[in-house]
Each structure stands twice: as C-alpha cells, then as structure tokens.
C-alpha cells in the first residue's frame, strides 16, 4: 500500500508541482502562514529527496511548504528561497540557543510531515509561539538583507542614491552607503512571512504583531558607528558607517522581550476598519510585488492590541505579545507536541531554570559520569582556518528522571 502511495506521490510531483498544495489546504487552519518554516529542513539528508542547494527552487518538498503567494515571490525573485532557507535555519539555531536552558527548548521535528516544524505548540497562542514567530520573521529579514548585499538576490541592489549632503555636510552625518538592503529585507519579510496572516482574528493579529516585532528588532539593531580622525587624536574628520547586527544580538534582544512579553486580549476597536479600500500602497521601490489579500497593507499593520491586564501599558512595536499562558512543559503531552523534560540535562548547582530542581519539575535527577569527546586546543591558522584537537574529558552530567 505504501508502495502505491509512493508512486502516486512521485507521479503527482512529476506531473504538476502546483497541484501539490491541494493537500496543504486540507490543514490550512493550522499555523496558517507558518508552514514555510519547513523550508529549513529542506536540504537535510534525512529528508526524502536529497538535493543540492542550488536546485532548491525546483524542489517539490520546498514548494509544498509554501503558499501560493510565497511561491510566486520565490519565482519572481530568484535567489530569495536560498536566503529564506538559510534564515529559517538560523532562526531554529538561535531559538535553540536562547532556550537551551529552559524546559521548552525549541525542539523541532526532524522531517517534513506537512505539519508545523516546531510542533503543535504553535497552535497555542502562548509566549513560546510568539517568540517563534518573531525570531523566524527576524531571521528572514536579516538573511534577505545579507543576501542582498552579497548580491545573490537579483531584484535588490545597493541603492547609493541618498546623497542629500551639502559641501559642509559633516555636521550632521547622513548615511551614504548601501541603504536599501535592510529596507528590502523588511519589505520582503512582510510579503513573505505575513502571507497567511490577514489580521482577521486575534490570533492572526498576534502573529502579525510578533512578526513585525521581529523585523523591527533587526532594523533597529542596524547601528551606526563612527570614528574620529584628526591631528593627534582630535576629531577633525568624523567618518561613520553602518553595521548589520549579528543574529545573536537580535536573538538576545528578542529573548529579553520574551521574558517581558505582554498578554493581550481582543480590542474593542477591532472592527473599525472593515472598509478595505484597495489603495494598494505603491510598492514600486522594488520588485517585491505586493498583491493585497483582502486588507490593504496600511490597515493590516494598523491595529493596537489591548493588554490583558488593563493596568499594564499597551504593547509597543518591539514587544512580543501572547494570548494565553504557556502550558506546563514538564510532562510529555502529545496533544500539544510537548516532549517533557524527561532525560534533559540539567545543572545541579544552578538555581535558575536550568537548575535541576526547576528543570526536572521536582521529579529528581540521576547523576552519571561520562567521557565526552570535544574539540580543544584550537589554534587559528592564517588565513582562515581553525584547527582543533579532540580531547576526551570526564564529565559529570545530570539528567532529569
């Protein structure tokens, strides 16, 4: 029976790739616009159809994870898909780094099954979900901006045209460099990531808000650095430049926001913008074609969420928002896709969340000595290679029961 399914499957792939999403539509209510996360696992060897990264845009497993509009974007902007895939991987890595010491450790499924990459936790509107949305959206922005400046996306290029400076314009410095990459990343991320979220219900609004927060963190971290030059350390000439933030910084900031995320509820003014006039805001600046789905962009992002606790102040652009409290992550819960903390490593001396008391939820832990092989004595060889030795060290590890 499985053989038959295989052949049917392959036949379907070979004949009509666009026909695939028929199956997608069946479960589209779940994690609407977030299926594209699966792109992160597209090139992995444990996947069914291994492929070279260059043929990513051809690959049906990738296409299957995308919505129609996302596929169109990928088709129209060659090179974008690679960047999105890279961004998605980056997001997963960063998420797992940020949550390595928590009960929920941002685990992902190891292959595509037409389900959400991060598991069913995404179905709940909790803090963790908020973080996932924000970090993935931020990663796409970051990765696209980076790909732009590398020149691997053809439809964006460095725009050096911002030269509004007089001859003595050093007094107030203006950015004269490659200005549009972050902007392009931002706009593309809006088009691509926010596809499924139309902002019609509270959950979609939450997703939109968190996606937007992730993007804002990237563009806000784009920072200006300056240096003085002059006779013996004076500051006669001041030159400035920009630095793209490392994704670790973005992740750190988002983690801070995660810790201070605000719970929101349905706002009264929710239905004030029923009139969806089709003044599709002019996106002529580049070729990220913006075809509005229902609401125009201006309205889509123009909402204010109300804090659950009326005494709190309403969430800002950079804040993460959530709707319901997180489920307990202690015990395994297949319904929510929670692994539980059985078998997780913990730190017996810490009193934080990574400490054995909290991590193991009071179940206790076992201690064992293991021999760990790790890289050590790394030396840097010019240029640019790091050579390491393998060391065997004895380590005491604690694992939750």
């Amino acid at each position: 029976m499985t053989t038959m399914r295989l052949w049917m499957m392959l036949g379907a792939l070979a004949v009509a790739v666009p026909a695939l999403p028929a199956e997608m539509r069946s479960n589209k209510n779940r994690g609407r616009g977030s299926m594209w996360w699966g792109i992160a696992k597209a090139g992995e060897p444990n996947n069914l159809l291994p492929m070279s990264p260059t043929s990513l845009h051809m690959d049906p497993t990738v296409y299957a994870t995308l919505r129609r509009k996302q596929r169109r974007l990928a088709r129209e902007n060659p090179g974008v898909l690679m960047a999105v895939a890279r961004g998605a991987n980056q997001a997963i890595t960063e998420c797992q780094h940020q949550f390595r010491n928590r009960r929920w450790n941002c685990s992902t499924k190891n292959f595509l099954r037409g389900k959400n990459l991060f598991g069913k936790i995404v179905d709940r509107g909790c803090r963790e979900t908020a973080f996932i949305y924000a970090i993935t959206s931020a990663a796409v922005t970051h990765s696209i901006a980076r790909a732009c400046s590398e020149g691997s996306i053809q439809s964006c290029s460095c725009d050096y045209s911002h030269q509004s400076r007089g001859p003595s314009g050093v007094r107030d410095w203006e950015w004269g460099g490659c200005s549009d990459n972050i902007g392009y990343g931002f706009r593309f991320s809006r088009e691509f990531v926010d596809t499924g979220e139309r902002g019609r219900n509270l959950r979609e609004k939450m997703n939109l808000h968190n996606n937007e927060a992730g993007r804002t963190h990237v563009s806000a971290e784009m920072r200006q650095e300056c240096k003085c030059h002059g006779m013996s350390g004076s500051c006669t000439v001041k030159t400035c430049w920009m630095r793209l933030p490392t994704f670790r910084q973005v992740g750190d900031n988002l983690k801070d926001r995660f810790d201070g995320a605000s719970r929101v509820m349905v706002s009264n003014s929710e239905r004030t913008r029923g009139v969806s006039n089709a003044i599709t805001s002019n996106s002529a600046s580049n070729s990220v074609h913006a075809q509005r789905e229902g609401l125009s962009r201006r309205h889509r992002y123009n909402f204010q969420l109300k804090p659950y606790n009326p005494e709190h102040k309403p969430p800002g652009v950079k804040d993460l928002v959530y709707l319901e409290p997180s489920p307990p992550f202690c015990e395994k819960n297949p319904k929510l896709g929670i692994l539980g903390t059985h078998g997780r490593q913990c730190n017996d001396t810490s009193i934080g969340v990574d400490g054995c008391d909290l991590m193991c939820c009071g179940r206790g832990y076992k201690t064992q000595e293991v021999i760990v092989v790790e890289r050590c004595g790394c030396t840097f060889h010019w240029c640019c290679e790091v050579k390491c030795q393998l060391c065997r060290t004895k380590k005491t590890i604690h694992t939750c029961l």
Partner: protein, 457 residues
C-alpha cells in the same frame, strides 16, 4: 518506503522529535560580516564620505597652487589669495574657531612688535599658551576637540615665527604673516611648515606634471589606511579576541587613522604647491616595525618633531640638561594637544620610556661594542665593532627591542577607541580604566627596564 509518506497526517510519536542541541556549532557561520558586506556597509560609505569631505579643501589647495604659479601676481595679492582660501577652509571645516583664530592671528602679530623684554626666552609662547588655555576652559569640549588640530597648527606657526623674530629681529610683513597663518594647505591637517618655506612658495614658476601621480599615490595610501582604521581592524579581530589582541587592534586603528591624516596632508601640501621634499610627514613602516621607541617618536610626525626639536628641546637643553629637556619637550607637546589627561599621560609615558630605552641601549651598545643603540648607525661609518651583518645577535637584540616597542605602542594606543567619548576627548577615568584592564603592564615593564639599566650602569 515508509518515510515517503511525507504528507501523512498521522500523529507520530517520539521519533518525530529530535533535540538538536549538538548543532550549535554553526552559529558562527553567519555571524561574521562577509567581505561584500564590509564593502557595502563600511568601506564604500567611508571612502565616499571622506572624498566629499575633502573636495573643498582640494579645490582651495589647487587655487593656492595656481596662484603661486602666476608670475604676474603681485606679492601682496598672492598672500591675500592664500589668506582667503584659508578663511574659506576654516569657515567650512572649523567654523567653531573661526573668529577666535582671526583674533589670535591679529593678537600674535601685534605681540611680535612688542618691546623685546616682553617676548624674551619662554615668554614668546605666551600668546599660544593663552589661546590654548582659553579654548580648553571656555569652549564646548566637543567643539574644542574637533578644532584642536587647527589650533595646534596655528599656535605652532605663531610661536615659531615669534622665536625666529626674537632671534633674528627681522621685519615680518603683515600680508605674509596672515597668509602663512591661514594658508589653506596646512591650516586644517597640518603639518607645521616654517615661515621660510611658506615664503618660498611665491613665484615658483616651474610646472611639473609628475606631481599628479604622487598626489594620487599619497591619496591612495591615505584611503587605504582609512579603510584599515575604520573597517578592517574591527573585521579581522572581533570583540571576542583576547584583551591584548584588542589592545593591539585599537592601537592599530589609531595609528592607521594617524597615517590617513598625514598622507592626506602630504597630498594636500603637494597640491598646494609645496615641494616634494617637504611633504614627508610620517614613516609608517618605521612605526609598524619599529627599531626603537625613539624612532617611533621621530617618525610619528616629522615636522612636529622638527618643531619640538628646534624650538623646545634645543633651547631647553642649554638650561635644563638632557633629561629635563626631554620631559620639557613632552610637556610642551602635550600642552599643544590641549590639557587632555589621556594625551598627557601617553606622551609623558612615552617621554620616560624613550629616555630609559635610549640610555639602556646606549649603554649596551658601548659595553658590547655593537650596533644596538636606539638610533640606527649607518653601515659605512659605524663606530661599533659588531653590526647586523657580521653578528647575528645584533639583529636579534634589535628585533627584541622592536617587539618591546610594539608592546608599548599597543598599550599606549589602545585608549583611542571608538567609544562615545571620542568626540569630546577622552577622560581621566577612561584612561585609567583601560590601562588597569591590562594591569599597567607596560609601565611595569618600563620600570623593570629601568631597574635593569640602573643595576648594570
């Protein structure tokens, strides 16, 4: 076969989940900026900004050059042209000190014609001293830090003229004096040039076109250094490197920034009509691979070194002796840089270091009869028995002293970083903080060197 059912909607058990904690390794893959990003975000804007910044200065210098070559131009008109280009330059680049500078020029010219008893000996420095002190105490620190270079050049010029006038008591033409003080070629980035050299600019009739290539060459070196200073140092060594590597990085950034200014100044000088022989300001190679700290100090800014030598050190030697004169020189130098604790600390440290190094190496050179003194002795008339050709350890010892000098330079230069206070001048606490992070290592090493010298003396 089972795995093919990729769109299966069944609930899967534990095996669907993995804990990928082991792949934290590839965090670092995306962290570093790529060379292309470096180009787009740093090198390109830096170079572009700086070129736009320099254009008015280049135009002003070329006007000076043309004015110097027009043979029909009367003497006074020529100096007026120079002064006006200077006024334009100062107004454009350092408007904060525009009126103050004009006032200073007037005041210092009047000072030249005061009776001799008011301007004898060290009194010739009074107008310059007052000017610097006024700026230091009454100006907004940010503005003062910005125009410090301009003020420094102006005070050096004024006091050199005053000293020469006191010795030779010749007549100084007002037009010449104003032209000299304001001349756009040297007003902004320096270097100091003597009054005599400035006067020689007038009526230089020969046109040579090879200088264009040298101008471009100087500019290319300047921009190369600028890119190193702004972009590459931070790119090659990220903030996670060890503290001594970071010290070396910041110090390198400061040095390359200095080369940028010096080579730009060289280029501008050549464009303004100064002869090639006067445009040598710094020797980067002798600073980056130093033989000794003494050599670094000399090669750092050759015109400044000459000024200090002829107007501070030599007169000081007669009255205070050698050690006193050295300390006096470094004090004068730090005064010229404004009353900035950090610069004073660096310069005074340098003063002690060079003194110790000079004495120790002189002693060693005499004891071992080898060419290991601070200054390189020329190969042909070297009075020492051993030199780097016939004795391998001479090279070795010189190399070791060179490495010691590099260590000191990294330590002394690291405070000129890109922190927020770079625009207002570095504070006392910043300096101490930076040095204490390194445990005042260089001062201890210098002290140890001195002890060594004291014991074998």
């Amino acid at each position: 076969m089972d795995s093919v059912s990729m769109y299966d909607d069944n609930e899967c058990g534990d095996q669907c989940f993995t804990e990928n904690t082991e792949d934290l390794d590839y965090d670092f893959v995306y962290d570093q900026e790529t060379p292309l990003e470096l180009y787009h975000y740093c090198i390109f804007p830096t170079v572009k900004d700086t070129i736009w910044y320099l254009v008015p200065l280049i135009v002003a210098s070329l006007i000076c050059n043309v004015a110097a070559r027009i043979s029909q131009l009367p003497h006074n008109v020529f100096h007026c042209v120079m002064a006006f280009t200077g006024i334009f330059t100062i107004w454009n680049y350092a408007y904060e000190c525009f009126y103050l500078l004009l006032l200073f020029i007037l005041f210092s010219y009047i000072f030249l014609y005061l009776p001799m008893k008011f301007r004898r000996g060290t009194k010739v420095f009074i107008p310059s001293l007052l000017f610097i002190l006024y700026c230091e105490f009454f100006m907004n620190p940010k503005e003062w830090h910005k125009i410090r270079g301009v003020v420094m050049i102006a005070t050096m010029k004024a006091s050199s003229v005053a000293v020469d006038k006191a010795e030779l008591s010749s007549h100084i033409n007002f037009y010449e004096y104003v032209g000299y003080m304001l001349c756009s070629v040297t007003a902004l980035f320096g270097p100091w040039t003597s009054f005599e050299n400035y006067r020689n600019l007038y009526k230089k009739t020969t046109w040579k076109f090879w200088w264009i290539f040298i101008v471009i060459g100087y500019m290319a070196i300047a921009f190369f250094c600028l890119c190193i200073s702004n972009c590459w140092t931070n790119w090659i060594l990220s903030n996670s490197a060890g503290k001594w590597m970071l010290a070396f990085r910041d110090a390198l950034g400061f040095r390359t920034s200095h080369y940028f200014i010096c080579f730009t100044a060289s280029s501008i000088m050549l464009m303004g009509g100064y002869p090639l022989s006067q445009t040598l300001i710094t020797k980067p190679l002798e600073i980056e691979v130093p033989r000794s700290l003494v050599q670094v100090v000399i090669s750092w800014n050759i015109p400044m070194h000459n000024w200090l030598k002829s107007y501070v050190f030599r007169p000081g030697c007669k009255q205070l002796g050698k050690f006193g004169a050295i300390i006096m020189t470094y004090l004068a130098s730090s005064l010229l840089h404004g009353l900035n604790f950090q610069l004073a600390a660096v310069l005074l440290s340098l003063g002690f270091y060079t003194y110790i190094e000079y004495q120790l190496r002189n002693l060693l050179a005499n004891v071992f009869h080898a060419c290991i003194a601070s200054k390189q002795c020329s190969l042909y008339k070297c009075e020492h028995l051993r030199n780097s050709i016939n004795c391998y350890w001479v090279t070795l010892v010189n190399g070791l002293f060179g490495i010691l000098a590099m260590f000191h330079l990294a330590y002394l230069g690291l405070m000129f970083d890109t922190s927020d206070i770079q625009e207002t001048g570095y504070s006392y606490s910043h300096t101490i903080d930076k040095w204490s992070q390194l445990g005042f290592a260089s001062h201890w090493v210098a002290f140890a060197t001195y002890c060594g010298y004291y014991l074998i003396r």
